[in-house]
């Protein structure tokens, strides 16, 4: 096993341990929320994974934008690879955040889904990034594909801050966790929440490294095929 592979395997084990610890802290250590029904009390613990999943999706799409700018500025293919890999992770965590949010909404709002501004704008984000992959698939020429995807990746990111601020700009039933004046969690909940956020961020880094390694392997296959004239 190469030294890089060993390092990645070790980091993956650390990330897995972090996520396991985060789950244990969220289910056991975090204090109960006050003034909720029994169903809501349990469901409230979803935020320790739901919010970090949503954060990861936004971080991933932000990295896609950075990769897109990097590609347009330098023309180097590795930036396009970074944008592509991060967008894929972003989609996985957008789906996870939407599904877990929907499960929380049932006991809290008595509905699996509602066209609330946050849910609507987040759906738009998901559709925009699914379209990012459709756009890439529609083009055969790698340079043209990377250029168009980079421009699209920059503009698609505009939907992310709109989603983040939607619950502050418009009338909504979605809870506002971060506020200019206060923070919507008690002192006992904060360490667990921030630990979970850190564990998920490490998970994102690991997934991105694995996905980038895959992209390098794809490029190696393409290079060999070209060399052999296939």
């Amino acid at each position: 096993m190469a030294r890089n592979d060993r390092g990645l395997t070790a980091l993956t084990a650390v990330a897995a341990a972090g996520i396991l610890l985060a789950a244990a802290f969220a289910l056991i250590l975090a204090p109960r929320a006050a003034g909720l029904t029994p169903n809501e009390t349990f469901a409230q613990r979803i935020i320790y994974f739901h919010v970090p999943s949503a954060w990861l999706s936004m971080l991933a799409f932000g990295v896609t934008m950075v990769g897109s700018i990097g590609y347009l500025a330098s023309g180097q293919r590795r930036w396009d690879g970074l944008a592509l890999c991060s967008a894929e992770i972003g989609i996985a965590f957008t789906l996870a955040a939407m599904a877990s949010g929907s499960v929380w909404a049932k006991p809290a709002w008595n509905a699996w889904w509602t066209w609330d501004p946050r849910l609507t704008t987040y759906t738009v984000v998901l559709l925009l990034y699914i379209s990012y992959f459709m756009l890439r698939d529609a083009m055969d020429d790698p340079a043209r594909r990377a250029r168009f995807a980079a421009v699209y990746g920059i503009f698609a990111f505009l939907s992310v801050p709109i989603t983040f601020f939607s619950i502050r700009w418009w009338r909504t039933i979605h809870p506002v966790l971060f506020d200019a004046k206060n923070f919507g969690l008690s002192h006992g909940m904060r360490p667990v929440f921030f630990f979970s956020l850190a564990a998920f961020t490490l998970l994102y880094v690991i997934l991105l490294l694995h996905r980038l390694r895959l992209e390098r392997s794809k490029e190696a296959v393409e290079g060999l095929r070209e060399q052999l004239g296939y």
Binding site: I89, A96, L207, L224
Partner: protein, 48 residues
């Protein structure tokens, strides 16, 4: 409690499904690289 378990399972499933999909694709590509490298070596080596 059922809602909480369901939400956690969804996130775990999404994470592991993504990781396994990456690993599966990686294994496939490594096999392809090995095969193509062998073909390239055979092509480069003089015929016996």
């Amino acid at each position: 409690m059922g809602y909480m378990v369901a939400a956690y399972l969804i996130i775990w499933f999404a994470t592991f499904a993504f990781l396994f999909s990456i690993m599966r694709r990686q294994r496939g590509l490594e096999r392809e690289i090995a095969l193509l490298s062998e073909v390239a070596r055979e092509k480069d080596s003089p015929a016996t």
